[in-house]
Structure formats: structure tokens, C-alpha cells
């Protein structure tokens, strides 16, 4: 806590530096880029990815992976929309139900993974298909959510200036981030997650409740995915079974760009926030440039990501070598 510039914090510092560098470059290149509005947009537009990615961070830290999140987001949006729109359930109740369903779903996958020692990739892949299919079972048609509560939430927000308002999705994102930060660094559960990912066999011998921890991790990820879905409905005021198709890759990318190792045990919740923002900033920059056709947009995203990840990597590598063994 005393020192910020320690070796342990190097990866996260490098990632932050990359984000600042990226944002700075775009601010110089484009008018209006350096503005509060763009920053709040960055949070709002990526809120659902962010919330999901934070849940995913715990999964990846534990050495697992969760491919089901995108489908769970999609399912949640249509589930909430159907409950509110067709069955006239109050949105608050509908949202709580959705969060419960997401958590139970995650827990179910965790139980399969833990009890039967199945590969997380396959179990959550099955989960991905299952949730997407169930979303269509709920409703093939997209549905809007017309309810006073929703309109109120969407209009609400924390005014930062007289023009810029931090809306509900962004607020939820920030809140989830803070809670996750505390969970990861100030709770036994969080430390157990790191231990399980660092070495599951050793953790077991050290008396860490490996099984229980794993199941909770997937429960948490399921919860975050459902919450991501809820955030999505706050952005769109509608539900659609096709929503968030392929979101899992974006979320995994954000986590890994943030410096968390896919092999588990090493990583940071704060890194994930940076990862989400780096990815979001690149997309925003391309929108501000605005003169690339579809193929060049994809190439630009790839190239920019590459450049900045190589920078991040080189920053963390040089001193790391010195100290290794």
C-alpha cells in the first residue's frame, strides 16, 4: 500500500500508461475527443462489457474460462423484457429474478466443473448454447420495455456538469468495479481465487476450499453476466434474444489485455477496467476519424491493439527479466 511504483504493480502501471498514451494521441488528433462527454460515454457504452468482464476476471484468475456470458446477457434482456412486457411483472422484481437465474445458472456450471472435474471450456460452451437457445424459447421477437420505472432509471443519473450526466449503466459499472476490487483484495474468497488459479493442487493441500471457491466463482460470473444484461436493458429499454452475440470474446480480450494471465493466478481487477477502456478508446478513436471503410476499420482495430499491447509488453518485460531467478 505504501508504494505505488513497485514491481508488483508494474503490469497495471504499464497498462494505465498505454491507456493514457492512447487517449492522449486521439485527443491531439481529434477535436472534441478530450472531453468529459467522451469519457462518460466510454464508461456508459462499455458498461455491459465491463460488468461481464469483471466477473470473467475472477474466472480467468482461477484458471478457468466462461464462454456463456454473452448468451446469458442476451437471455437476461429478453427475459426481463418478457416478464415486464408480457407478464406485467414489476421491473424491479423482474431484474431480481433475472439476477437469480443468472447466478443459479453460473452455479450449475460451476458444480458440473467442480464435481465431475470437467473442462470449463466445454461446460461453459454448452452453457453458451443452452442460454442462447433458451433466449429464443422465451421470445424470438424483440420486445421493448415500456414501464415508468425504466424511463425513470434511464433519465436518472449523476450530473457531472450541466450537460454531462453519468447515467445508470456507467454508475453500475463503476459500482461493480469498486465492489470487485474490494472482493479481490480484501476478502478471503478473493485471495482463494488467486490461490486456486496459481496452483489448484497446492491450494488443496494448503487447506483452501477449492471446490466451494470454484463454484462461487462461476456463480459470480453468472451473476455479473445477468447484471450485464440488466445494464444492457438500461441502455436500450428493450430485450432481444440475439443481443450480445460474441460478447464473451470481447470480455475475455478485455481481461487479458488488462494483464491477467489466461493460465490463472496472476492478474488484476483494475487491469480489466483498463482493458475495457483501451478497447473502447480504440473504437471511439476510429469513430472520430470516421473515414475508414469496413475492412480498414477492422484492420485499424487490430493494428492499434497490436501496437499498444507490444508497448505494454515491452514496458513490463525489461525489468521483469532482471529479477527473474
Amino acid at each position: 500500500m505504501k508504494q505505488i511504483f513497485t514491481r508488483k504493480n508494474l503490469p497495471i502501471l504499464a497498462t494505465t500508461f498505454v491507456l493514457v498514451l492512447l487517449f492522449g494521441t486521439f485527443s491531439v488528433l481529434f477535436d472534441n475527443f478530450l472531453s468529459l462527454r467522451v469519457v462518460t460515454d466510454l464508461f456508459a457504452s462499455n458498461a455491459h462489457v465491463g460488468v461481464v468482464a469483471i466477473g470473467m476476471t475472477f474466472v480467468i484468475l482461477s484458471g478457468g474460462i466462461d464462454l456463456s456470458v454473452g448468451s446469458v446477457v442476451g437471455f437476461t434482456t429478453i427475459f426481463v423484457a418478457t416478464l415486464v412486457g408480457k407478464h406485467e411483472v414489476h421491473p424491479v422484481l423482474a431484474i431480481l429474478l433475472a439476477l437469480l437465474v443468472g447466478s443459479v445458472f453460473g452455479a450449475g456450471m460451476g458444480i458440473f466443473i467442480q464435481v465431475y472435474q470437467l473442462p470449463p471450456f466445454l461446460v461453459t460452451l454448452a452453457g453458451m448454447f443452452f442460454a442462447r437457445g433458451m433466449a429464443f424459447v422465451v421470445s424470438k421477437q424483440s420486445l421493448e420495455i415500456n414501464h415508468r420505472f425504466y424511463s425513470a432509471v434511464i433519465d436518472a443519473g449523476i450530473p457531472l456538469t450541466d450537460k454531462v450526466i453519468l447515467r445508470a449503466p456507467a454508475c453500475i459499472f463503476v459500482a461493480v468495479f469498486v465492489v470487485a476490487l474490494v472482493l479481490a483484495h480484501f476478502s478471503r474468497f478473493g485471495r482463494n481465487v488467486y490461490a486456486v488459479g496459481g496452483n489448484a493442487a497446492s491450494s488443496l493441500l494448503m487447506g483452501v476450499p477449492v471446490g466451494r471457491t470454484r463454484i462461487w466463482i462461476y456463480t459470480l460470473s453468472g451473476f455479473c453476466a445477468a447484471l450485464g444484461g440488466v445494464v444492457f436493458t438500461f441502455r436500450t429499454q428493450a430485450g432481444n434474444a440475439t443481443n450480445a452475440f460474441g460478447l464473451e470474446l470481447d470480455a475475455i480480450a478485455a481481461v487479458v489485455i488488462g494483464g491477467t494471465l489466461l493460465s490463472g493466478g496472476v492478474g488484476y481487477v483494475a487491469g480489466t477496467l483498463m482493458g475495457v477502456l483501451i478497447y473502447g478508446t480504440i473504437l471511439t478513436g476510429i469513430r472520430f476519424y470516421g473515414n475508414l471503410d469496413s475492412s480498414w476499420q477492422r484492420m485499424a482495430i487490430g493494428a492499434l491493439l497490436l501496437v499498444f499491447i507490444v508497448i505494454q509488453r515491452l514496458l513490463t518485460r525489461a525489468p521483469a527479466r532482471e529479477a527473474s531467478h
Binding site: 500500500m1 513497485t6 508488483k8 474490494v182 483484495h185 480484501f186 476478502s187 478471503r188 485471495r191 482463494n192 488467486y194 490461490a195 496459481g198 496452483n199 493442487a201 497446492s202 491450494s203 488443496l204 493441500l205 494448503m206 487447506g207 483452501v208 476450499p209 493466478g265 496472476v266 532482471e322 529479477a323 527473474s324 531467478h325
Partner: protein
């Protein structure tokens, strides 16, 4: 414990073993590599479910299903292969799972205080924030012990806790163990060091091939008989083993310099030092924990990049910038950390043996299968590796047998220089004597050997010359008649 049995696929590891530890005693558990010591402990703490038998704790029948439950019952354990979380800090590893909390949140300040206190009991001062992976193996072992001591246990189990500790550390540990015994704890102590057994233990239980040989009072069992019980051989045969231990220093060095290092060093690692290794010579590296022996070895092998100095091999300047190049020039390096730098866990014994040889031949010229089988069979036989078959994954072997497989990996290369970093770590007496014999015969064949061991006795016996390191600096060199334990200790202690 009564009538404990345990079988793994194809191996009966324990056959109806009885084992009793009383409160207030230190009980040594002895046996050859693969005798079933670690398995017995793992069955006791619930790592492996037992096939038969029963465990009684203070008269109550218990069956912990996981180490956590054993810990709750008051059984605290240090397992054989160091089990820590590499990327977490020293402090966290000590306190994992029992972190002090305030208002439900981890109290980091308190956590560090408690971790420091736990280490202080063993008289160690280290940066608590360092990640365990950046610590040397000996330090890791100390951390694991500190962790076990932090629990309020009724029974403390230590499975080869001293295998990479130096004498000073061992003495420190024994002090703590004796203190705990006074407090009425039961302690189980596994080791292959005879002297240590006699130094601390009250009674000894001997296992052989998964069967109980018997329980004895330490004071009533002469060393030589203990060895006999472990090996299951007659006294005469045991005495012969004892003989081989006296091999060594007599022969004079022959041959020219094979490797000469000038001002070899690494920033932040070892300070520049000069070193010469001749053909047909064993050079010992002596020093305390963290004195830089392993670092020096890694530099010679190209596993770490040197930042100063030069190396000549057979009179030619060489870069040795990578392990592959070093191996290509006839250097072999048997690492001290067999779990993370040695074994390839899911590959078979055979594949582990031929790995380095195959790497030397390159991708295309695969060693014919027949040759592979021959090599594997030869070394399993020669080193008495206890394995159900050459195709068994190495992870299923006992610790000592894994070590032998790794030795085989390097021996089959017939290198010109072999660096042995703690080669006898976790190896039983019989095998240890054999390895020393082996080292001697390799030397006679003209191989150069760099021998690192925390056991001074061993270094003294095996080496023609000894380099003494301290604080990652070379502080002196002894040769021939000068070599004895006291001189070395003196150099380590007095040099300023």
C-alpha cells in the same frame, strides 16, 4: 492409524500399515524412496481416500476428506514437494485461508505482523511482499514450515522439510520442533538424513515396500540396523553400502581445464568470480542458503544471462547463451527444483529420460523406439528407479525416484561437465551412496563435475576442490587435504 491400505492404479502403495504417534514425541518415519511414507501422510490428512483401515485421533475415529478438514482436526502438515502458490507473496502464503479480518475485510497490517512473527520463530528475515516464486527453494521450504507452525495444531507432520536446508536452518528448525514437543504436540518427521533422525527423534517407524517393518525407540536402534531395516538387507550387505560412502578425496585430479570462467557474474545475482573445472575433477560449491550456488550454476549453463565475464571451454571462448548451446558443448545441469524445473509431469519415465538426448539430436532424428526402451530399462535398473513400468507418468513416482529419473536424463547424454545442484535431495541412504559412487566413477572416466549440496559432509567427501560462496561472492577455494568441514565453516563464518 491401524491397518491402512492404499493402492494406486497398478501399485499397492500401503499394505495394512499401523502407525502411532504419541503426544509429546517426535516420531521419525523412515524408508527407502517409494516405501510409502508420503502416501501414508496423505492418507492421514485426507488427500487420498484410504482403501482400508482406520485413523484414530485422541481415541476418536476420524476420516478427514480434505486437508482442510485435517487442519480443522488439529493436524498441520508440510508436504514433501513444496506446496505454495508461486505468484502470491510470502506473507500471503503463510496466512492463506486464515487471514485475520476486520469488519469482514482482510486486515493486511495484522496479516503481515503475524506472518513476520511466524518467520521469526525460524529466525528468518525476508521481504514479506516478495512473491514466493522469486525465492530460492530453501526459502520456500522455510515459508512452508512457517505456515505449518502458525496453526494451533495437536499433530504436526513434516515430510522431508530439511531436504534443501543448510545446517544452520536445520538447527533452527530442530529448536522449534523440540519446543513444540515440550508443549505436548505430536510430531511426525520424515527425512533421509540419518544424523537428523538421531538428533531429534524419540522413536522411529520404518516402512518398506508399503509394509510396516516395525516401530523402535531411537535410542535402542543403532544406525546400521536402521539402514538394514530400511533396505531389508543383512547387516553385512549394509556395511558394504557404508563402505562406499568413504569413497572420494583420495584420487588426485587429472586432466586439463575443461571450463574456465573469468569474472563471471550477473548484476543483481552473483558478483564476478573466477572458476576453473578440470576434466576428471569434482568441484564442490559450498555455502549457506542463498549464497549464490544455484545462481552460479545457472550462469554456467546459460539458463540466466551473464552480465560480465567470459567462459572458455577446452581453450575456446564460448558464449553459452542458452541451455541448448550449453548442452551442445557437453554441459549438463540437474536443477535443484525438480518440480518446476525438472520433471515434465504427464510424460512417461521413458520420455523424461530421453528428453535431453532427443533435444540434442534435433527434431528430425527421433531416437528409435527400441533405443529409447533400452536406455530407459538400463537406467531404471542401474539407478534402481522404482516404477511400475517405463510408461508410467513421472508424476506418479515418489519424490526420490523422480530425482533419479532426472539424473538418468543427464547421464545418458554422457556430458563432459555435469552440474549437479542438490542431486541427493530427497534421496534415501542407499541411493545416496550409489549416487556418490556414480559421481566418483564418472570422474574417473574423465567427466568434470560441479557438485552442489547443502550437506557439507557430502561435499567434502566427493570433491577434489571446493569453492566457498558467501553472500553471492566467492570467498575462497580449498583443495586436496585442505578440504574439511571445519575449514569450510570457518571460511563462511569469518570472512568479511
Amino acid at each position: 492409524m491401524r491397518g491402512i491400505s492404499k493402492a494406486f492404479r497398478g501399485v499397492q502403495a500401503l499394505k495394512g500399515v499401523d502407525f502411532t504417534v504419541r503426544a509429546g514425541e517426535i516420531h521419525a518415519l523412515m524408508g527407502e524412496n517409494g516405501a510409502g511414507k508420503s502416501t501414508l501422510i496423505k492418507v492421514l490428512t485426507g488427500v487420498h481416500p484410504r482403501d482400508g483401515g482406520e485413523v484414530l485421533l485422541a481415541g476418536q475415529s476420524v476420516s478427514p476428506q480434505a486437508p482442510r478438514e485435517a487442519e480443522e482436526l488439529g493436524i498441520s502438515t508440510v508436504y514433501q514437494e513444496i506446496n505454495l502458490i508461486p505468484e502470491l507473496s510470502v506473507a500471503e502464503n503463510i496466512m492463506l485461508g486464515r487471514q485475520p479480518r476486520r469488519f469482514g475485510f482482510i486486515d493486511w497490517k495484522e496479516l503481515h505482523t503475524r506472518a513476520r512473527r511466524a518467520l521469526q520463530r525460524l529466525e528468518i528475515e525476508i521481504d514479506l511482499h516478495r512473491s514466493v516464486s522469486s525465492c530460492s527453494l530453501a526459502l520456500q521450504q522455510m515459508v512452508a514450515i512457517a505456515r505449518a507452525l502458525d496453526v494451533n495444531a495437536k499433530l504436526l507432520i513434516l515430510d522431508e522439510p530439511t531436504s534443501s536446508l543448510d545446517e544452520h536452518e536445520v538447527a533452527e528448525l530442530f529448536k522449534v520442533m523440540r519446543r513444540l514437543r515440550e508443549q505436548g504436540l505430536g510430531l511426525v518427521f520424515v527425512t533421509h538424513f540419518m544424523d537428523q533422525v538421531y538428533a531429534v527423534s524419540d522413536s522411529i517407524t520404518v516402512l518398506r515396500n508399503g509394509e510396516l517393518v516395525g516401530e523402535f525407540k531411537t535410542a535402542e536402534l543403532p544406525k546400521i540396523q536402521l539402514v538394514g531395516k530400511m533396505l531389508g538387507r543383512e547387516l553385512a550387505a549394509v556395511e558394504k553400502v557404508g563402505d562406499t560412502m568413504a569413497l572420494g578425496a583420495d584420487a588426485k585430479t587429472t586432466g586439463d581445464a575443461f571450463l574456465t570462467a573469468k569474472q563471471l557474474g550477473r548484476k543483481g545475482g552473483v558478483e564476478p568470480l573466477d572458476l576453473e573445472i578440470r576434466k576428471g575433477e569434482v568441484i564442490g560449491l559450498a555455502g549457506l542458503l542463498g549464497s549464490g550456488r544455484t545462481e552460479t550454476a545457472r550462469l554456467l549453463f546459460g539458463a540466466d544471462r551473464k552480465t560480465s565475464g567470459s567462459i572458455t571451454l577446452d581453450g575456446r571462448a564460448t558464449a553459452l547463451s542458452s541451455p541448448a548451446k550449453a548442452i551442445g558443448s557437453g554441459i549438463a545441469f540437474c536443477s535443484e527444483d525438480r518440480k518446476s524445473e525438472g520433471i515434465v509431469p504427464s510424460l512417461s519415465v521413458r520420455e523424461n529420460i530421453i528428453l535431453a538426448m532427443q533435444a540434442g539430436r534435433g527434431i528430425l532424428r527421433l531416437l528409435p523406439r527400441r533405443k529409447q526402451d533400452e536406455l530407459a530399462a538400463h537406467y531404471i535398473n542401474a539407478l534402481r528407479i522404482k516404477t511400475p513400468s517405463p510408461e508410467t507418468p513421472i508424476q506418479n513416482l515418489s519424490g526420490g525416484n523422480q530425482q533419479k529419473v532426472l539424473l538418468a536424463r543427464w547421464l545418458c547424454l554422457q556430458p563432459k561437465l555435469i552440474i549437479l545442484d542438490e542431486p541427493t535431495r530427497g534421496i534415501d541412504v542407499g541411493a545416496k551412496a550409489e549416487i556418490e559412487k556414480l559421481v566418483d566413477s564418472l570422474r574417473r572416466e574423465g567427466m568434470a563435475i560441479l557438485f552442489i549440496s547443502s550437506e557439507l559432509e557430502e561435499v567434502v567427501r566427493a570433491s577434489q576442490r571446493v569453492l566457498v560462496l558467501r553472500d553471492r561472492k566467492k570467498v575462497g577455494e580449498l583443495s586436496g587435504e585442505q578440504i574439511n568441514e571445519d575449514r569450510i565453516m570457518e571460511m563462511i563464518a569469518t570472512h568479511e
